[in-house]
Subunit: 243 residues, 2 copies
Amino acid sequence: MIMENLLSRKLLNFVKLDAADLELLDRIVANPRTLPARMDLILEGEAPTDVHLILKGFACRYKLVPDGGRQIMAYLVPGDICDLHVFLLEHMDHSLATLSECTVVDIQRDEILAMLARPRLAQALLLSAMVDEGTLREWVVNLGRRQGEERVAHLLCELLSRLRAVGLVSSDSYRLPITQLDLAGTVGQSAVHVNRVLKSLRASKLITLEHSNLVILDLPALEKLAGWNPNYLHLRRMTAAQV
Amino acid sequence: MIMENLLSRKLLNFVKLDAADLELLDRIVANPRTLPARMDLILEGEAPTDVHLILKGFACRYKLVPDGGRQIMAYLVPGDICDLHVFLLEHMDHSLATLSECTVVDIQRDEILAMLARPRLAQALLLSAMVDEGTLREWVVNLGRRQGEERVAHLLCELLSRLRAVGLVSSDSYRLPITQLDLAGTVGQSAVHVNRVLKSLRASKLITLEHSNLVILDLPALEKLAGWNPNYLHLRRMTAAQV
DNA sequence: CGCCCCGTTGAGGAACGTCAATAAGAGTGG
DNA sequence: CCACTCTTATTGACGTTCCTCAACGGGGCG
């Protein structure tokens, strides 16, 4: 089975690309490597070297706090590029790690420059970076203003949209290959409480979640609970739903 | 009294600038306007037109949530530039408003392009944007992993660093022209609870706060409480402390 | 088979929210 | 300058959300 170029698929949500653009992207994703779950890509304080592109699996940005806990500040899902700031920042102010097993491409400096030299690709990459920032702002809202169930519901809605944009959703269902401990580190609550929140979402017939398979049973109700508004993802074109 | 060019002062924290760079910045800040407190600069959903530069006062990014509350996601203090993404995003995914009376410069498209055409200014602006993003990540940590007193303490430490970088701090003291309701909307707690947190910080002899004048009485202790680590601000050079 | 990580549940306590009342300032018009 | 009003700050009482500690079960993997 041929692996579709998820980078192209993602960027096509923002801009049109010509054949040469697509060919460059195909060349870039040609040599991926596979990493196990729970593996650091780069640590806070280290000097960034290359740019990472996720093709498969979930990764995250995180920081450790003095009391031993960790806060996840971003999910990196297939099609996501991280650390375009390689060229500017001397030291990482956060760490990067896989959550599940991941397929990753290390993009070299000259390949990034080749992309930025193409106006439409440059625009798509910048737009994608602005969306990441908008997502961060929405996470601040999520942590600051919503409580348990709404918080998790919002995260599930966001992942639905983001994964749908790269064709990884069918019938409001997707793989969510993370533990409840990771989920707790994401929504800023204890693992015990997240477990109870999930129990409650299941009891309300909003979702099922077994063996890392999430099924959203009642999307309108989940979106309503979450106060969902996808404008911060700035998706201009919706990709066709998969069968 | 001549108003110092706070934009230059801020950018000099990141890069060296030559005389022509500084002259361009002086031209840009030449025609400011003054806005009253609690005034929107732009609303979520609107199309951004120009870029805003704050010269005096506090402004913020915020979103309203269905239940009527508002979450502040960023503070804009003197020297801060917002919305460089004017050129890319069709609609704002959040709103911008003044918290106190503000002096603001509206920067036109061609002036932005003139700055970006100068390599060092471009680098400084991009670095500044990355710092904004790093700040957003730290706020996620603040909301997700810290409780009341640590949260407020962290915010106060951050503002100390940021205001010091533009010369608005003397002896660990600065103007904090915001209400407790705004503070609550920032740290994701109720105004009543923020009031009690402040009371506790005062009782611990860490700060005083009267008439919008904040005095940090014991900075090491406040930083320890906050788990303060300024690396995300990426300040390379410290500006001299003001008398 | 045994171990370890993960998910689940119970019990009790700490942190935080809501409602409500009062005080203290700040601005406004007379 | 004073009376009035509106916003902001402060405090108490009480309820809710969430955390911590602890125990137990289940499934994957050596």
